[in-house]
Amino acid sequence: MTLATHGAGVRIPDGPWLVADLDLQAKPGRVTVVVGPNGSGKTTLLRGLVGARPLDAGTVTIDGHAMARMPPRERARRLAYLPQSTPLVHDLDVRELVSLGRAPYLSRIAGPRDADRAAVDHALAAVGARDLADRRVATLSGGERQRVMIARMLATGATTLVMDEPTAALDIAHVLSLLALLRRLADQGHAVLAALHDLDLARRHGDDALCLLADGKGGHRFGGATEVLRPDELADVFGVDVTLDGDALRFALRPTDP
């Protein structure tokens, strides 16, 4: 399902706009990446897109339906969100954690049904974490933990997946395997929208890209990843020298004036 924004904006309360007039589409089958300097408002924007905070302007639609008017459980079955960190209060095992993704389906009276258990198994298989099902979440490596968190999103049955820095704090092997997982999910028909801090990886693994300019006016660029994440544009936004070496971006500090 396509997640679209219409004139969306978020701002610091009584302060500058972080993002203004955003018309973005995260389409099924595509990985849409969000980049921007620290403090440019990536997290604030994503929280606004999923309704965890109100948008300061504009609306979000899922397949043309206004998200704000959708019953919360129905929204939860279409749109899943993974915050940058998920501090766990209790020591859960993996199956318990992924089962929490079934919350939008559970009755207030009866317990989980077979369909719920099947969805959890399916989600674990989809991220290649079946063999982790009985492990305590606290014993997982960072990479395993993120896979399980994505399985928790998939257990909702949502086809639009919004993730805030899912690769943060992972080593390079896990980063690449997680990005491969996101590609696989997109190929299966999910719309994947993910904030990433690594510009080079964002450019190679994203189909579409949103770059926040951090200009205090809510400026941004949205379009095809290779178009939006051009070296000259990135150089302006991030304040470093950027060159393209074959298919890879190279970064260098600007020489400071003496």
């Binding site: 929280r47 999923v50 309704g51 965890a52 919360p72 459980r73 129905e74 929204r75 939860a76 079955r77 749109l79 899943a80 969100y81 993974l82 915050p83 998920t86 501090p87 766990l88 209060v89 209790h90 020591d91 859960l92 318990e96 954690l97 929490l100 993704g101 919350a103 939008p104 559970l106 207030r108 317990g111 928790r152 909702t156």
Partner: protein, 336 residues
């Protein structure tokens, strides 16, 4: 899923209820006591040759034991819901000043003589006091994710509530009977709790249990954080309102019946989680059972050990305080 924990808790509770029939002054054998209970449960009249014995068992010990169990259940459920709502395994109505707020409002009712209007007045006022304390706590700690911030705010609220209670006590020092009544009530006791008291406590406790169970999916989802819970379809404002009302009802009921009893709501859910995991579907009913057994055990044991009337809150605090310190050392640092 096996229900070994539920079965064990229920068996312990039954054993304690039987013990409560025979422990205490007066030589009553278990068979005599059970005979009386069975006769009265069947609607029979008391044995005219043993009226004192009948009154001792049926009018004193049975309602007293059931009151202790119901209050323990209410506090166990209230503790589990408080911990779930605040995402804080160290939260508890006693520690956070919610019970203190309940006590302040109840004492206010005593000072104005409102409690003479009916048995429901003190529980009602106590529930309002608990709701006010908890609402203040939620408002002050709206964005606080640190375990310690919530606990410290609770300590501040408890201090203010305690000061107001003491002030009312000081202002009533001219009236000895009132002062004595307040002090007795504040210390808390199961002495002389009757069937009428039990009725007044049982209904709100059952309502609280049902309301808490209705929230179980939301509380489970909330353990992943506010944003994730929201994305899973949890309506956070409604969850906060219902949980606040549930906690206030349970704490108000328990506090009105036997004063401030701390730490039951802290210790019980921890023990239950070790046995049955953190899911609220099992945590809530098990906390009710284990809380009932725990507080009844406190009453039975103190009566077995001494004829001096020891307020149950004293025992729970003597046990619970050190447990809180231990939990704080285990959770506090990592969970900030």
């Amino acid at each position: 899923m096996t229900h070994r924990a539920e079965l064990a808790a229920a068996l312990v509770l039954v054993a304690l209820l039987l013990a409560a029939l025979v422990v205490g002054p007066g030589d009553v054998s278990l068979s005599t006591a059970l005979e009386i209970v069975v006769r009265r449960l069947g609607g029979g009249a008391p044995d005219p040759t043993a009226l004192t014995l009948d009154a001792l068992v049926w009018d004193l010990r049975v309602p007293r034991a059931l009151c202790a169990a119901v209050v323990g259940a209410a506090l166990g459920i209230a503790g589990a819901v408080t911990q779930g709502l605040l995402r804080n395994p160290l939260a508890e109505p006693g520690v956070l000043g919610i019970s203190a707020g309940a006590a302040t409002f109840a004492v206010f009712g005593f000072a104005l003589g409102l409690d003479a209007m009916g048995l429901w007045v003190t529980p009602g006022l106590a529930a309002i006091g608990a709701a006010v304390s908890l609402a203040l706590l939620l408002w002050i700690c709206a964005d606080a994710s640190r375990v310690a911030t919530v606990l410290l705010t609770g300590i501040a609220l408890a201090s203010v509530a305690g000061a107001i209670t003491t002030l009312m006590l000081a202002l009533s020092s001219e009236r000895w009977d009132l002062g004595l009544k307040i002090v007795r009530w504040l210390m808390g006791s199961f002495e002389g709790r009757s069937w009428a008291h039990l009725g007044a406590a049982l209904v709100p406790t059952l309502v609280g249990l049902v309301a808490a169970l209705w929230l179980r999916v939301d509380l489970d989802a909330l353990s992943l954080g506010h944003d994730t819970a929201h994305s899973l379809g949890v309506q956070l404002p409604r969850l906060r309102r219902v949980a606040l009302g549930t906690i206030a009802l349970l704490v108000g009921t328990a506090t009105a019946l036997c004063g401030v009893i701390g730490f039951v709501g802290l210790v019980v859910p921890h023990i239950v989680r070790l046995a049955a995991g953190p899911g609220h579907g099992r945590l809530l009913p098990l906390s009710a059972l284990a809380g009932a057994a725990g507080l009844l055990a406190v009453d039975v044991l103190t009566r077995a050990v001494t004829s001096v009337v020891i307020p149950p809150g004293v025992v729970t605090a003597l046990v619970g305080g050190p447990v809180l310190v231990w939990l704080l050392r285990r959770h506090g640092e990592g969970a900030t």
